[in-house]
Amino acid sequence: MPAGSVQLITTDAGERIVVLSGNWTLAALRSTIGRLFGALKSVSADPTLKWDLRQIDALDSTGALLIWRAWGADRRGSTQFKKEHAAIFERVAAVPPVEPSRWRPDLLAPIVFLGRRESRFVEHVLALVALIGMLVLDAVYLLTHPRQLPWREISATIYKAGALAMPVTALVGFLIGVVISYLTSDTLKAYGAGVYIVNLLGISIIRELGPLLVAILLAGRSGSAMTAQIGVMRVTEEIDAMITIGISPVSRLVLPKVIGLAVAMPLVSMWAIAAALVGGALAAKAQLGIDFFFFLDSLPKVVAADNLWIASVKTLTFGMAIALISCHFGLRAKPNTESVSNSITSSVVASITFVILLDAVFAIVFRQVGFD
C-alpha cells in the first residue's frame, strides 16, 4: 500500500494546484504521519492554492482529519474530491470544535484533599455503624424466625474461611513456634533458665501471637475474598436483584459471614496455637534438650487456662470485625473494576489495622487476667 503523498504542481495555465495521491488511511499513514502533516501544513500556508484530492486511492477519517487540520479552515470550496470522499469530509466538518480545557492551578487543592479524606473517613465510620445496626436488627428478626437463618451460607463460610485455612495456618504457626523457640533458647541457656521456654512460648503464643497471626492471615485470605465477592456482585447488579426478590443482602450476605468467621476464627486459632506449640517444643528439644512430653506436661502448670479464654474471646471479636469491615468495603464498592480493586486493598488494610487496635485494647483490659 503506497502511503499518501503531497505534490505542488503548476498547470499549463499557470495555476498552482496541490495534488494529493496514494492511500490516506490510518494503516498506510502510520509511520509517515508526522512528515506528511508537515508537508500539508507548509502548502496550506497559502490560502489561494487550489486542491485536487481526486487521485487519492483510499481515504478514511484519519486521513481526512489530517488534511482538515492542516487546512485550519474549511477549504472544501477550492477543492476537488471524488464523490465518496466528499461524504467523509462532510463527517469531519460536522464535528463541533472543542475548546481544550485549560488547566488552572488550584491553591486550595491540598486543603480540599485533606478535608475530603477526613469526611470520607467519617462517612466510612457512619456507614459501618449503620451496617452494624442493620445487622443487629436482622439478627433479632432471625432469632425470632430461626427457620430463616441462612444456615447454608454460615456453614459455607466456616468451611471456606476455617477448614480450608487449616494447612496454611498450621504451617505458619509451626514455623513461628520454631523460630521463637530457636531465637530465645540461647539467651535462656545463658542464664541457665532453659525450662522457662515453656512459660515464654505458652504465654506469648497462646495469648498474643496465635490469635494475631490467624487474624492477619484470615484478613488477607478470607476478608479479601469477601470484599471481592460482594464488590463483584455490585458490579453485576446481583445485590440489586437480591433486594428486588425480597432478600436482604445484609441478612443473606453479611450476617452469615460475620457469624461464620466468628465461629471459625477461634477454632482456627486454637489449631494454629497447637501447631506453634508443637513447633516450639520440637525446637526446644533440639536446642535445650527439653523433652517433648515434659514440655506438654508442664504447659498447663505454668500457663493459666484463662489465657485460652482470652484467646478465644479475642479471636471471636477479630473474626466479627474482619467480616464486618470486609463486607462494608464490598458493599461500598462502585460498580467498576477499579473501585472493586481499591475496595479490596482498603478492606485488608483496614481489617488488619483495626485488629491490631483491638488487640491493644484487649491487652489493656485483660492486663490482670491469666498471669499467676
Binding site: T25, L26, A27, R30, S31, I33, G34, F37, D60, S61, T62, L65, L66, R69, E84, H85, A87, I88, R91, V92, A94, V95, P96, V98, P100, V235, K334, P335, N336, T337, E338
Partner: protein, 252 residues
C-alpha cells in the same frame, strides 16, 4: 479484492461434550453486510468469537483476511487485529477508563499519533455515534446502556477498520437510535467500503441494513442469501423467525 474477508470451512466447535457447530462453512466478501441470525443458544456468538480468534475451533479452518487467527505470528496477528473492530454484546468498555480514554486506547496503542490528532479523532468518532463532547470525561458506570453501546461502537471504529464485527448492535437501543445506527453503518459502508459481520435479532435492522442474511440452525448455516430469498426457505426456524409460518401448512 477477490479474497474473502472471512472464510470459515468445515468448522466444528464444542463446548464440553456439546457440539455447537458441525461442518459449518460460510464466507463474507469485502463490502458485504452480513447478518447472522439463529435461535438463542444456536452458537451465533460462539461463531463470532471463533472468527475473531477468541475461541479455538475443534476442527476446520477459519481465515480472517486470509490469515488463521490462532496460528499467525505475533506481528501478523497484530496487523490483522488492527484491520477489524469488534462491538461486544455488553459493550465491554474498560470500566476504569473514561469514555474518551476508552476510544483513545486503540489509537494510543499505535504509538505513532500525536495527542492532538488522537483528541480530534476521538471527537470525530464520538460525533459519528452521536455522543455529545460533554460526555467524554464520564466513566462507563455513569452511562446508560444505550450510550455504552454507542461508545463501544465508537471504540470499534477507532482504527477505521475494514471489517466491523458486531454482536447484537441494536439490542438495548431505542428505535430512533437503532435507525441512526443503521444509517451510520450504511454510510460507512458506502464511503469506506466497510464490511460488516453482525449477529442480530432485530428484523428491522436486518431488512434495512444487511445485504446478506445467514441463518444458523442445527449447527450449520441452513440458508444464506439476500433477505427475500432467505424468507422463502421452508426451514422451520426461518419460518418461525420471520413469522412466515402459517399454522395450517406448518403444523409442528
Amino acid at each position: 479484492m477477490s479474497d474473502p474477508i472471512i472464510e470459515v470451512k468445515d468448522l466444528w466447535t464444542k463446548r464440553g461434550q456439546q457440539t455447537i457447530h458441525r461442518d459449518l462453512s460460510m464466507q463474507v466478501d469485502a463490502g458485504d453486510i452480513v447478518g447472522l441470525v439463529g435461535g438463542s443458544g444456536s452458537g451465533k456468538t460462539t461463531l463470532l468469537r471463533v472468527v475473531i480468534g477468541l475461541d479455538a475451533p475443534a476442527g476446520g479452518t477459519v481465515r480472517l483476511f486470509g490469515i488463521d487467527p490462532l496460528n499467525a505470528g505475533r506481528q501478523q496477528r497484530l496487523a490483522m487485529q488492527r484491520r477489524f473492530g469488534t462491538l461486544f454484546q455488553g459493550g465491554a468498555l474498560f470500566s476504569a477508563l473514561s469514555v474518551f480514554e476508552n476510544i483513545a486506547l486503540p489509537l494510543r496503542e499505535l504509538r505513532s499519533l500525536d495527542k492532538r490528532l488522537i483528541r480530534d479523532l476521538v471527537m470525530l468518532k464520538l460525533h459519528l455515534v452521536e455522543i455529545e463532547p460533554r460526555h467524554a470525561g464520564k466513566m462507563p458506570a455513569e452511562l446508560s446502556g444505550g450510550m455504552i453501546k454507542r461508545i463501544a461502537l465508537a471504540r470499534a471504529l477507532a482504527l477505521d477498520p475494514e471489517l466491523l464485527v458486531l454482536d447484537e448492535p441494536t439490542a438495548g437501543l431505542d428505535p430512533d437510535r437503532s435507525r441512526s445506527f443503521v444509517k451510520l453503518i450504511q454510510s460507512l459502508s458506502r464511503d469506506h467500503g466497510l464490511t460488516v459481520f453482525m449477529v442480530t435479532h432485530d428484523v428491522e435492522t436486518l431488512s434495512t441494513l444487511a445485504t446478506r442474511v445467514a441463518v444458523l440452525a442445527d449447527g450449520r448455516i441452513v440458508a444464506d442469501g439476500p433477505l427475500d430469498k432467505v424468507r422463502q426457505n421452508r426451514h422451520p426456524f426461518i419460518a418461525s423467525f420471520f413469522g412466515t409460518a402459517e399454522p395450517a401448512t406448518n403444523p409442528d
